[in-house]
Each structure stands twice: as C-alpha cells, then as structure tokens.
Amino acid sequence: MDSIDGLLLGFSHALTLTNLGWALLGCFLGTAIGVLPGLGPALTIALLLPITFSVTATGAFILFCGVFYGAMYGGSTTSILLNTPGESGSIITALEGAKMAKNGRAGPALATAAIGSFVAGTVGTLGIAFLGPIVVELALKLGPAEYFSLMILCFVTVSAVLGSSALRGLASLFFGLLLGLVGIDNQTGQARLTFGIPELLDGVNVVLVAVALFAVGETLYLAWRWAETKQVVLPVGRLMLSKEDWKRSIGPWLRGAGLGFPFGVLPAGGTEMPTMLSYYAEKKLVDPKYAHEFGTTGAIEGVAGPEAANNAAAAGVLVPMLTLGLPTSATAAIMLSAFQSYGIQPGPLLFTTQADLVWTLIASLFIANVMLVVLNLPLVGLWVRILKIPTPQLYAGILVFATIGTYGISNSVIDLVLLYAIGIVAMFMRRFDFPTAPVVIGMILGPMAEQAMRQALTISQGDWSTFVTRPVSVSILVIAAVALVGPRVYERWGRRSAR
C-alpha cells in the first residue's frame, strides 16, 4: 500500500468519535505528565498497559501515541517556566527559554515552543508516513541473522554511544538483558534464572521494572538528597508571537525539524544530540542584530529550534519501532511490549498484516498534533496550575500509582518487594550516573534478539559464522563495532596528536 492510500485509510478510521476520544485523552494525559516534573511518557504508558486487556489495539495505541507526543509538548512548559527540564530533550530549551521567561517573555517562548512542536511533529509524522513503507520494503529482505545483527547495533547505540560512559551504559543494558532472561525459556520450556522462586517462572514484569526505575528510584533519590527549596513558577504573560517573533521562529522550526527527524530514525535514539546541534546552529545563524540575546535575555531562536528538533526526533523514533520492531527509547520499548500483549508480532510485517492499525495510528498522530497546539496555547493556565502541585503530595501521589500499577499485576506482595528492591538499585544508578533507558530496552529487546539468534543458528545448523558470512549481517556488525570503539579510539588519537 502506498503512503497516500494508507493515510486516506488511516484518516477514515481515525476520525471516528471513539478514536478521536482516545487521542484527546492521550494528549491531555500526556501534556499533564509532561508538565509534571518526575513523570515521563515511559512510566505513564507502563501504568496504562492494563488497558490492553479491555480496549482494542487501535484505541490503545492512539492513546499511547497521544501520551508520547503530549509529553514532549508539556516538557517544554516546565523547562521554560521552572527552569527544570523534565526530560533530556528539553535541557536545551531551558537554556534560552527560562532566560526569556525571566525577562517577561515567557508567553512568546511558550508559543514558539508549542507552534514549533506542531511544525516539527507534522514534518516528523509525514516522515513516518513516507519513509515507513520504504524501510519496510528493505526490512522484508532481512533474515533472522540480519535481524540479530540489527538488534546488536541497536543495543550498542542505545547503551554505549549516547551517554557519558560506554561501560556504565553497557552495565545498564546487561542488567536489562538479565531481567529479560528470568522465567521460562519459550523454546525449550526450561526455567532460567529463577533462583527456585516459583513466582519468577512467569518472568519479571515490564511494568514493574519501568515503575521501579522511573517512579520508585526517582522518589528515593529525591528523598536521599532532600533539602527544602522554594520553586518559583515564572509568570506567563501574553501568549502571543509578534510579527517579528514569527519571522525569527520559522527558520529555526524548519531547520530543527530537519535536524531532529533523521536522528530519531537512526537506531541511536536520544534527543540530546539533535537539540544541542540545533541550538548551536541557531546561535551561528542568528541575525547579528539579535546575537547578543543568546545567553543574556534569551533568544527566541534558541527555543524554537531545539524544541522543534526534540519533537521531530521523538516522531523519528517511531520509524524503527513500527517498521523493524526495534525500540530505541524506553517509551518505544514499552509500546513494543504492548504490541506483544495483543499477540501482534512487531516488525516489517506489521505494515501488511496490521495495515489498518498502523495507518490509523499515523493518522492519529497528525490529529494529536493539532489537538496539542489547541490544548497547549489557550489552556496554558491549567498546566501552570498543575505545575504548582507541591512536591510532597506530587511524589506521594506518584507512589500511589506505582503501588496500584504493580499490585494490580498479580495481587502479590512479592511484586511490591521486587519493585522496591529494583527501585533501590535505580536510586544508586542515579547516584552513580548509570542510564536507566538501556535497562528497559535490554529487557524487552533481549528476548527478541535471543529468538532471532537461535532461529538464525537453526537455519545455519549451528554454524555461528552465519552472522559474519552474510554480507548485510556482517556490515551491520561492523557498524556496531565502529560505533562502540570508534569514539574512544578517536578520542585517544586526538589526545596523542594534541600533545
């Protein structure tokens, strides 16, 4: 099916009252949790996973994508008005955005962030619609050996390439792989890594791990370092862009979107890199007339570009997720596990076997984008009020939802104990600067990689050289190896030649 037909089909399904309702609910929820510091889309979607038992796949995924996009919009509000970025993609937005807010220009900063997010979200979603089928076409030619190599590449990029240390990233990844191994091996029926505890035969639940990492660990860390501080929410003012603001924003929006999307599509994940690049690009390209505003009173270009890059990268992450079944962010990994709970096999066949679902989803992303601009501009007062929820009640509430989400899995106290144990590990991970996203990705992608590996080895009759003799497979592995050691070698070489 080509993209235009697909989109027409998608919109015809997405524009029903029920599906519009799911999109609206998702956008609303997503913006709210994006605004709240300490809550993210990965945690929210994990807590909403039980919905997969009672709602159709289409409805659930429209909801999840609304949450995913909404959180990106909401995150910018927090970083501009509080100067505390809620997630890694909005760190750069806080740089200039908070400065603008301090100088009474919070309104234009919020407006350029919201409209920029809309522009980038639309560009990114168009990218998904037109790039998706092309990637699928290529992906259908891949066998299990190539798939396994692709997953290795994905593991390397999400853990070792991004972040401050390859060693710590890999430690997180392997912790996730270990958690993913617990339970019955689905090919031989053997119990693995269960320590003889019968409750572990079903494996460690994804929801439990996500909640432990993103809610319990975060709360414990906050308590560990607790010191009473007063947070100031800066006033919003008028939410208007002047003619001059428009002129200054359009370029950064488009450049940011163009920069962000490819970064999201590559199995490198992450929004830090494109937002940072966009910031430096805008700083270089800015009209000399306004150059002095960077770092002083806050330049609108420095908000418009990175915010667009952030949203376009987030949209890009959906391309490998939908076309290859490869999650490159924690949120995408949890969405992938939702596919599995519907019994849908993620991967290139998704576009043919579940064409209705995929195209409805893509159409809903366009709709969600429109809803989000509307929700974010006139309703900004509501989000500011959410921002003012005091920390004690906010974190106490987060733990209530953490408890119910975990206890609801099997009504077992053992799950709660496991939740707190992994939460304590997560607290120390935060202290020692271990990234948490690779844990979730390793846990969900690990079992899929093992399956692909064993399939490939069955086809090759146990010959391990299959991964390095098939040309596509070996090329992917070489890229993975370069991505792993390349930056270190380059760094060492640079240091030597500098001496």
Partner: protein, 161 residues
Amino acid sequence: MTRARAYGPDLGAGLFVLLLGALALWQAAAIQSSPLYAQVGPRAVPYGVAAGLVLIGVGLVVVALRGGWSSEMEEVVEAPPTAWRSLAYLGAGLIANVALIEWLGFVLAATVQFVLVCAAFGSRHLLRDLGIGLAVTVAAYLFFARVLGVSIGAGILEGLI
C-alpha cells in the same frame, strides 16, 4: 602522571555489577539443558550475559581503583548531605504499604503510605494529607478497577466503594 587514589563509592558500584554477574553465572549453570536441542540450548545466552556482566564489573572496578568516575560529577559535588529523616519516613511508607496491603486492602495501605511520603518531603499537615491521600487512592482504585478492569484485591474500604 600521579596515580589517583581509589574512590570507595564507585568501587562499591563496580563490585555490585561483578556480584550480579557472579549470581547470573551461578544461575546459568543451574539451567537444565536437554540434549534434544543440540544447536543452541537455553544456556548459551544466559552464559553470555553473565560473562558480559562479569567483564563490565571488572572494568568498573578498574576504573574505580584509578580514581573512579563520580567523585567530580557536578550532581555529586553539589548534592546536599543525606537526608536521613526523609529516607526514614519514605522507607517507613514503603514498608507500611507492604505490611498492610493484604490485610487492609489497597486503599487504606496506600493512604498510610501517602501520608508518610508527604512527611518525608517536609509536609506538616497530617490531616490534610490524610484527606488528599484518601481521595487520591480512591480515585486511583476507581480508575484501575473500574476503567482499566484490573483486579486490585479485596479490602475494607474497597467493599464499600
């Protein structure tokens, strides 16, 4: 170059990863391998993951012995001292929840937890937190049990809602 001194906390983190790897090796060795699956048995990947963890653990220990990585991190240097009082209240909240949830049900156990967590973060309004906590837990219960259709088990207040 002078040899930097080992950094204790980072050494602990490295040793923990090493311990995790050792546990994984022990559990991988305990997996029963049936001779029917001669190609790749259920043990290959667990052994690989365990070996990976051991190697990474060794790597982290070596880095820690050379001075570690986190002693100069901004977040660690500027961090306020450990808030034992907050941690104690939070810990009490989590333990109370585990201890009470089967006995009193989710709503009451989570309300107790809510009040203790609020106290952990400096709230001094016990009655107000109790009221908010009850409202939040009941709302969470209604959403999960009625809207999402999740079974949250029985409890004293759950029967009345």
